[in-house]
Subunit: 222 residues, 2 copies
Amino acid sequence: MNPYNAIKSAIIIGEYEPGKRLTEEALAESLQVSRTPIRDAIKQLESDGLIIPFKRRGYIVKEFSIEDIRQIYNLRALLESHGAGEAALNRTKEELQFMHEKNTAYEQAISKLKRSDISTIKNIQQANQEFHEEIFKATKNEHLRSHISKVVVVPLIFRSFYWYNERQLLRSLEVHKTILKAIENREPERAKIAMQEHIYQGRDDVLVQMANPKIELWKGEV
Amino acid sequence: MNPYNAIKSAIIIGEYEPGKRLTEEALAESLQVSRTPIRDAIKQLESDGLIIPFKRRGYIVKEFSIEDIRQIYNLRALLESHGAGEAALNRTKEELQFMHEKNTAYEQAISKLKRSDISTIKNIQQANQEFHEEIFKATKNEHLRSHISKVVVVPLIFRSFYWYNERQLLRSLEVHKTILKAIENREPERAKIAMQEHIYQGRDDVLVQMANPKIELWKGEV
DNA sequence: TTTTAATTTATTGTATACAATAAAAAATAT
DNA sequence: ATATTTTTTATTGTATACAATAAATTAAAA
């Protein structure tokens, strides 16, 4: 795994907790490479909004406020709902088939849920992400796609899956099916609204958990 | 000027034309710095979508197709119109005042138009950009702001000002005033739609010029 | 002559030493 | 005790040499 993915991964699973301070040298030592590739990774992570410079004394892992969550999820809602509408207009039969396959994979990942097992949750998050990405591929809009990927802050989504219970996961699966049906039927407005609602639901789940933390984020060895 | 802005600037004014090949070493030589800061700049420019890697043999300045223009401007329309709506809801009296000032500066920059004079056109583009940015500041939505800035591909906008005649510039000034009025009156829907129309107008002007190039991009020494 | 393999070359990737500098700590003055 | 200046230190910024490697070129084989 390259330095970028290694650090990102550690942030996603919470090994590097929000607020933790990172320096080039310490990261280089920990990943057994020189500072040069670490600097490349850091620049990318900064542009991703996952770390922020800390007064010329390294970086800290970004802590997301309630307002950050609102803003990020509202942006996602705007862009991803637009994407779903475009997908409903432009999808081919083959692409629809791929979406079905990705959603089936998501269903299977959910069925293997073991709470607090990092790798199970990673699988669920990954399957979910691939389903969403399949939709945006079908828009044939490369710029929209790449911008959506910049708005999607993976650590936030990972955390929401970490907190989700089975009921919540099954509900999200049902909404995926609604979105799929709308795309299948070439109903852009319905696909758009279903996707918007899906993202808002995710946003509110995160906000509720933040206001009233029932489950701590995992801590300890990888 | 740092390497990032130096290279970006050269791309914007067309000194580095679309398709031109760039290598780290040549840029380092030309800007009289080592490859290290050039590499940082290149990474940023790549993420901006202004250059693309060319089979491990340097980079080339991005050539924008008609489809690219459509996708980028449509994205801008989506995000900036949303931003204008939010600004109409959230702007303070002071922020409204700033917007007026920026638009006055835009009006003055236009009044000094001399076609084909790079620095005049740079001023117009800069003033226009500052007006738009003032609107997005008023949203108090830092994430929206930063994403809009990623969608705004400055070379495209610069080129459109390069091609614009006085009539087109005055029309764009009038639309700015419409947007301002809607923000002043706290009419989010109208601000949104006016901004959307403004961006689509810009898009179509660029598409028309691309289909039927009346004015060549500037070439020669800086 | 065309395909395949070997060699060379252009270019990015990485390590490392040193320079610049902002922040922190210590010393001095008020 | 507080404010100001000086010194030290932690950390990023930059230059440069060398390594890795994909692409281009040349040579060899079919």
